[in-house]
């Protein structure tokens, strides 16, 4: 529980810091999605049961919705679905070392952006959006993906250190608890 709370609080702070720094330093490039990195970390560290991880994914998605001014629920749903996919992948792929972390974060954010675009395109009419604008935004999202991949290793290390400091680090072994809660 403490681990989940730590994810939530620090994740929220990171979301706020990203926006704040961009505002102060007048950064006009696409900002990284720190919450997607956290989502990847939660999924691939495999130290949390699936419902808890999914609850965190929904929370991060909801917070991102509020911060980005997106229609509430879009990123929430995208994050939830992406987390399920990442958890499924985590059952089959082990992530270690910063190049793999970067790559995983990159594909995670690609997945989130694709899901977001898909939801927005599907709900374009009720939400009053133009579909053509979605495709342009989706192409621009490549910078978003690269930025997220670049910040993935430091954020990953930050959380490992943080959990080690708070003494809530759990051993990551192949025999650890399955995110889906299934028996092996």
């Amino acid at each position: 529980m403490i681990r989940a709370l730590t994810y939530l609080v620090v994740g929220w702070v990171l979301i706020a810091v990203g926006g704040g720094l961009a505002d102060v330093f007048m950064i006009t490039v696409m900002l990284p999605a720190t919450s997607v990195v956290l989502l990847t970390h939660i999924a691939f560290s495999r130290t949390m049961p699936l419902p808890m991880g999914l609850a965190l994914a929904v929370s991060f998605g909801y917070l991102e919705d509020l911060h980005q001014g997106a229609p509430v629920g879009v990123l929430t749903l995208a994050f939830a679905l992406a987390f399920l996919a990442l958890s499924w992948a985590a059952e089959r792929i082990a992530v270690s070392g910063w190049p793999t972390r970067m790559l995983t974060a990159f594909f995670s954010v690609v997945l989130v952006d694709l899901l977001t675009a898909g939801i927005l395109v599907a709900l374009a009419d009720p939400l009053g959006l133009r579909r053509e604008a979605m495709w342009v935004a989706l192409w621009d999202a490549r910078w978003h993906c690269i930025a997220t991949a670049l910040v993935a290793p430091p954020i990953w290390t930050l959380f490992e250190r943080l959990f080690s400091l708070l003494k809530i680090e759990e051993p990551r072994t192949p025999d650890g608890p399955s995110p889906l809660g299934a028996r092996r």
């Binding site: 720094l21 419902p51 939400l127 809660g181």
Partner: protein
């Protein structure tokens, strides 16, 4: 296939959690421009956090901005100071060149005015008193050209006479030297006399009382001694002292500052033409006569 209770619980929770965004989306689709009470509550809770982060980052940003600006200013200041030093040095060099140019021009003009044969000489050393008054000047002309007693002139006035001659250089006895004697005249009245060195500050010359002399009058060479060309300025009368008898003593202050003389002319007048079959070399090729 056995399904555990825990798996059923987890699946239920997952379905409920997935239903939340669907419900949220449904509400948003119904009313896209309004936040729900829950949304507003979350924003209210997060507002202090965002404000704190924003304040911290802006404070940090302004600190780094100021620090960077100061570092840039310091770099710029050091660069400008360095440039300033270089420019000041160049300015000094240019001023020296301008002064040297002026002296050389005046020396050339004097050369054109003076009919005597002369050879240029450059100062290579000075003997000074403990109070930095010049007592003696050394020029870069040795025994090949100079001879003791030869006159040494500068564009501003008479410097003195060649005293000791060495292989590569010569010492010049200044007009202020007590041993110095030069035939002079008062420029206005032509009253003639012999100028003696008196002290480091000046000279004296005795002339008949028949001539009225006022302080400030110019004293120049008379040419009687056949060493100094006639009409070259020496100095100005600073005091007139009436002596017992029919003489009056004029105290003369030299026109030139001996510590600022760089280029001089050695007068070769009276030196015989060399009787040699060999073609002249060096200054002889320019029509100058070496002294024997």
């Amino acid at each position: 296939m056995a399904v555990s209770l825990r798996s059923i619980q987890n699946a239920t929770i997952v379905v409920v959690l997935l239903a939340i965004p669907v419900v949220l989306l449904r509400n948003t689709a119904e009313n896209p421009h309004e936040l729900s009470a829950f949304d507003r509550s979350v924003r209210r809770i997060g507002a202090p956090l965002e404000a704190a982060v924003s304040y911290s980052t802006s404070t940090m940003g302004s600190f780094f901005e100021r620090w960077l600006m100061q570092a840039r200013l310091q770099d710029s200041n050091e660069q400008l100071a360095s440039e300033n030093r270089e420019l000041a040095q160049r300015l000094r060099e240019l001023a020296e060149l301008a002064e040297e140019n002026t002296q050389l021009r005046r020396a050339l003009q004097m050369r054109d005015r003076t009919p005597a044969d002369m050879i240029p000489a450059e100062r290579v050393g000075v003997d000074q008193s403990p109070f930095f008054r010049v007592l003696n000047i050394r020029i870069d002309r040795g025994s090949r050209f100079a001879k003791p007693g030869m006159a040494v002139l500068s564009p501003d006035g008479v410097v003195g006479r060649v005293d000791k001659v060495f292989d590569d250089y010569s010492d010049v006895m200044l007009v202020t030297d007590a041993r110095s004697k030069i035939a002079v005249e008062v420029a206005r009245s032509r009253a003639q006399g012999i100028l003696h060195g008196d002290s480091e500050y000046g000279c004296i010359v005795d002339v008949p009382k028949d001539y009225e002399v006022e302080p400030g009058e110019l004293i120049q060479t008379s040419g009687v001694d056949e060493l100094f060309p006639k009409g070259h300025p020496i100095g100005r009368v600073v005091d007139v002292e009436q002596l017992v008898g029919d003489q009056q003593r004029l105290h003369v202050k030299p026109e030139i500052r001996f510590d600022r003389v760089d280029v001089m002319w050695v007068v070769l007048a009276g030196a015989p033409r060399p009787d040699t079959a060999e073609p002249p070399v060096g200054p002889q090729a320019m029509g100058l006569q070496p002294v024997r």
